[in-house]
Symmetry: C2
Subunit: 308 residues, 2 copies
Amino acid sequence: MINQLVKKIQELEAPIVVGLDPMLSYVPNHLLEQAYKDMGENLEAATEAIWQYNKGIIDAIHDLVPAVKPQVAMYEQFGLEGMRLYLKTIQYARKKGLIVIGDVKRGDIGSTSTAYAIGHLGKVNIGGKDYRGFDEDFITVNPYLGSDGIIPFIDVCKQENKGLFILVKTSNPSSGEFQDQLINGRPLYELVGNKVAQWGDMFMGSDYSYIGAVVGATYPEIGKELRKLMPKTFILVPGYGAQGGKAEDLKHFFNKDGLGAIVNSSRGIIAAYKLAQYEKYTGEFYADASRQAVLDMREDLKKAWANS
Amino acid sequence: MINQLVKKIQELEAPIVVGLDPMLSYVPNHLLEQAYKDMGENLEAATEAIWQYNKGIIDAIHDLVPAVKPQVAMYEQFGLEGMRLYLKTIQYARKKGLIVIGDVKRGDIGSTSTAYAIGHLGKVNIGGKDYRGFDEDFITVNPYLGSDGIIPFIDVCKQENKGLFILVKTSNPSSGEFQDQLINGRPLYELVGNKVAQWGDMFMGSDYSYIGAVVGATYPEIGKELRKLMPKTFILVPGYGAQGGKAEDLKHFFNKDGLGAIVNSSRGIIAAYKLAQYEKYTGEFYADASRQAVLDMREDLKKAWANS
């Protein structure tokens, strides 16, 4: 799956993943009104409107980018109906040829991590038949519990030819509170980065490992260090756009081969129609605004590449 | 909710939470056979059998313990059907008067943590009506992202009168890989413990904070340190029984008032009928074995109390 991700990034010249992190407030009025008219103003109608919204975005961007990254929390907030929508969104994205990175940030002790890995990447067998849970291609994982919380995920990745992105340095303002603390003179994120590189050796693709890392665009200098520390690790980079990460800062996350990273944008693409820059697109044309935002992001990143 | 938990622990003389972490292999044959007969040997039948199994355990233990702790991973492994079962289990446990600690170990950047908090502790409002997602009373949270990943959970706790248990030192063998690393001569878990105590000040109950900690029974000396460091923090203690934590080690997790901790047992209670100790209970009497295992655990802990 990592080889496929690399290949698609090269073909499309787009190291971009679109974050499908819907808020009800992003959904254009015409979709909400239609759903409420058809189904009443209730939870089922709201999740139906979000589904139509997601579908419109996937239809508009699936030929431009290799992958989408649904953030499960945005679905989990609507409880069971939300999880149904999460699954439907994953299935549709896969059908349209997109690689799906489930941003689930799971992680627990060994046997529990196995259960998470089965639910998101693997399958259960009942009566001789396999059942897949959410069936993402990659998921994000939290490293706080150490190796025996991570290796069960890697074992399932090996069986399924799937991959992980493990949190190393997150994009949020207070990520340094623990992640930047010095241990023998080196920050915790380096210790975690070293571990991710070691875990990565357990399951290598052609040039990069199936076991990737998450490093926030908002910390470009740290990105630069970690890029060197983990040369075969693919880096998922959140924090571009709405969170403040700039394209010129992103070059540090890439290797000399122009690869090694994939940059996420969520709000800046899926809610592009609400930005001043795309005001010519009204809510009814939200998907066209998303498509244009992807094209603009691709150009923006190419500039960063050209200068690197 | 923390006051209610303390009160129930005192009334029942049982600082015990039963971990509802079902594996299909724990479900007694008669329940599986009945479900397969009724519904065919498929995923829906398997989750129905687990539901009957959970229900039997809840019925058998609800008058003995204050709380149950379903581990969401064990449900998530069955995908959407599993999440339906998770919700049904929570709703039934609450109906039987049990406090529900959702062991979900969620945690992300600010806006995403808000969404998780809404889905598990809060509600969404659509068309003037509130909808609750999974509606646990407490959930477990991962601190790796720092304060701005935690405070959104606390905000929702304040609105809902609910609580958290934040991972400090986990029970698994490799938890020390990052958690024990020394920062200015003190281990990371102490730094996290200090933060948990500070976050706890943001939402105090009568004697203890709504914001608790997770510290594994398998590290009693660390439990002793953390108990002193976080005097008003309620500690959720996993790792007793099957993972190797012993009752005599548990006294360190309690304050002089005999309170301040609640000890989890999962496999040792829900799959008690499979243990040599309870071999007189056949599968059909699995729930009776679970009840006896709770009674035995209560005695075991009382001994630890008596010696403390």
